[in-house]
Symmetry: C2
Subunit: 464 residues, 2 copies
């Protein structure tokens, strides 16, 4: 009835256990059937009593069999309807998974950073130091709100570089903007239900808030950023904004509008979500100070990330909560753990503490300024008066307006892809469908100067 094989690494008792189990699940051993005694079965299979005893103990522990004192083991009554037809029938590996993302010769994706820019040797050194210092702490959970030293470093950096005034206690370390917003959406759910977002604007906040049951109201963006009159009549009580560098249009919200926006928030218990995602990257003059710094005790949640200057793959971001929300944060999340690796938090804290972060920003700013300037020149040369550049001078992308173009965005993207050019659709930033005019969003962070020049030359030929 059962066959034991000495030539496999699977222990004999497990082989026997599996076979009896399958017989029970398949109904071949009916409910209340008595199993042979340990001695009997051991003789029958020419194996040791330990083998049979081990198998019976497993079956007993999992409830496949029950025991009666001095009578032996019996098969438990199982619901055969519910039993699996095939226990280990492996589903086929679906092919969709293994399809690699398409590679482009010229990839204008706006979230790509310069290919060789990650400070790998330094990161390895700091990581190794942290691992040596930390390995005994890895056996327990880290601080729920994030490493205190990292929060101190971020506080100092934000004060120095962004004019943000806060206490490390207001800072929460998060695993990327989406995770930051996930927390914000939960904190505010009781008191808010409608989020005003910039249109065009970053698509991720729309998804996150929609997934948390919020209504999303798109508010138009003009030359000065979010249209404040439209905001006032939008019905939104939260406003997600990118005032230092509007995503995707690149404009800076003037200070008069900033103060009005702060006033809007304070006059009605409303809240501003200030996403300062790439404020480090400004190529003329110094970075625009934050909104939060204008009103440190205001109704502003400040969001920052390391994805635009260090790496999007490490998943390191933070949020600065106003004092008024700290209680709600603690009430909701007091059982929660940090979602960011303690080792990476410590490595980053060391990176900042030793001044590498500031140096890295300066280095990256110089690199991206060059790439930016090459792109601007290439567009001027190849598109000439047929394109107007919007949002230059900062960040990792520009927008091209092409008033005379007859092709739709989808047509351009498809043509471009056929010629090895990757374009991120501008329409993805629009809250409702495609924009009226065809625009191109051109990221330059991941491209060399020669790729930018060749890519723009090719693209200009495809557009007209």
């Amino acid at each position: 009835m059962f066959i034991l094989n000495n030539d496999t690494p699977v222990p004999l008792y497990q082989q026997l256990y599996s076979q009896i189990r399958e017989h029970i699940l398949a109904g071949k051993l009916p409910a209340d059937a008595r199993l042979p005694s340990v001695r009997q079965l051991a003789i029958e299979l020419a194996t040791s009593r330990n083998t049979v005893e081990g198998a019976y103990q497993e079956l007993y522990a999992e409830g496949y069999i029950y025991s009666k004192p001095r009578s032996g083991y019996f098969v438990s009554a199982l619901d055969q309807e519910a039993a699996p037809l095939s226990l280990l029938k492996k589903p086929r590996l679906r092919s969709s998974l293994s399809t690699p993302a398409p590679r482009f010769d010229y990839d204008f994706h706006p979230a790509r950073l310069a290919p060789k820019s990650f400070p790998a040797p330094l990161w390895r050194k700091l990581f190794s130091e942290c691992l040596r210092e930390t390995s005994r702490e890895l056996v327990q959970y880290g601080p729920p709100q994030g490493e205190l030293n990292l929060r101190r470093m971020i506080q100092l950096y934000l004060e120095r570089s962004r004019g943000v005034v806060c206490d490390p206690e207001q800072i929460v370390i998060c695993a990327g903007l989406q995770h930051s917003l996930d927390m914000v959406a939960q904190i505010l759910k009781g008191s808010h239900s409608v989020v005003a977002v910039e249109n065009p604007g970053y698509h991720l906040p729309r998804s996150v808030f929609r997934n948390h049951g919020y209504e999303i109201v798109p508010v138009p963006v003009g030359a000065d950023g979010l249209d404040l009159e439209a905001l006032a009549s939008s019905g939104g009580t939260l406003a997600y904004v990118t005032p230092s560098h509007q995503l995707p249009m690149g404009c800076v919200m003037p200070v008069a509008n900033r103060l009005k926006l702060i006033e809007w928030a304070e006059s009605g218990g409303r809240l501003i979500l200030e996403d300062d995602y790439d404020s480090e990257l400004r190529y003329h003059g110094k970075p625009i100070p934050s909104l939060q710094g204008l009103r440190p005790r205001g109704n502003i949640i400040y969001l920052g990330t390391f994805s635009k200057v260090l790496s999007p793959a490490l998943r390191l971001s933070y949020l600065v909560l106003p004092d008024s929300l700290l209680d709600a944060y603690r009430r909701l999340f007091h059982d929660y753990f940090s979602t960011v690796s303690l080792l990476e938090q410590r490595t980053l804290a060391k990176f900042m503490e030793q001044g590498h972060w500031d140096r890295h920003i300066r280095r990256m700013r110089a690199i991206y300024k060059k790439q930016h300037d090459v792109l601007i020149r290439a567009v001027a040369q190849r598109f000439g008066s047929r394109a107007e550049i919007v949002g230059q001078g900062a960040g990792l992308h520009i927008v091209l307006q092409l008033p005379g173009i007859s092709l739709s965005e989808a047509e351009i993207i498809s043509r471009a892809a056929q010629h090895g050019i990757g374009l991120f659709p501008f329409s993805a930033t629009c809250a409702a469908g495609e924009p009226a005019a065809t625009r191109l969003l051109l990221g330059f962070g991941g491209m060399s100067a020669s790729e930018i020049e060749a890519g723009i030359a090719l693209l200009s030929r495809l557009c007209f």
Copy 2:
């Protein structure tokens, strides 16, 4: 009016910018006041025109001043009401933040692992290799669902060790159970609103689902795990269960109950959330196979973690979605990024691929078995017949029932703390307040044999 200081590292144009800006915000320079010409102010301050030009450009870029052609720069009209009173008044550092967590001589916290168990040298080596191989990929986002190779390794491990039958496409890499459940709560929100949880049971799932607006219904746990009749009448359409090792009581759900639970789920479009958190740690016989393996195409979401055997601080977990939920997952999260560092995912994948994970499990099982056995002996010796041990033989904790005790849980915990003993409250696992009888939850993962012996000796004296 303005003072420039050559002895600070702050560039002169920034000093001037800041001072003019403060004058404007403080109302000392009223709206529409004309600023001195660049040449005038440069002479007045005995500085270069570039300095003044730089300051004006910054102020202009941020909207503090406007320009009229051939007339110069003028102060913008700002809402003075909204202007900050003090721009950089630093809030005091609140003391609560810097209070370190209390340290105990004997810490019975159930989530602590053996102090020297993290495989640091190996992890450093594999991490360094991954960094070398990956550094050029760190400049863009990693795969949203997690590294394919890590998902393959997890799939193989789950099939081999847990009987889980799935495809890597069903696996999502997450930053800990709480993040896994965050996603699950969002996926199921449209079709479910009531979650049945084990009582006593892990407190984190209750918090996560409550934060997502679910109603939580506690269902009692008996010797066979979740009470299935109580479940059927609970009104819950989701059931969060720990069938291989009930948290905290340690019982195993017998296969007859498992099949009934599967039937419960399938008969009414209900869902089982199977948390298999520490299934690797079973000290007699082999691990109990998973529920998911009994019905691979059933309504089961399988949840696993690396927090119990490798490290809780690295934040590495996964969920296995049934085919029926993959569309909903993709629909909700198609804009989302992974929340787990690509470097740590790759390091873990290598760790598993090279067989270190299996070896590490065996090593940890041997270590914890010893600590477990020491604890059982110490309790028997010190508590004798006054304590009944529940849930032994697996995991990282046991439960003591103390029928004759007159002290409340709070009294014991407070006394214990005074004597250097840290106890995690059993009542935290109870859905509604304290349990009827006083129970102690004793984790042994983070303690040496001698600490366990001394701690139990001391604790037994405090209890009676």
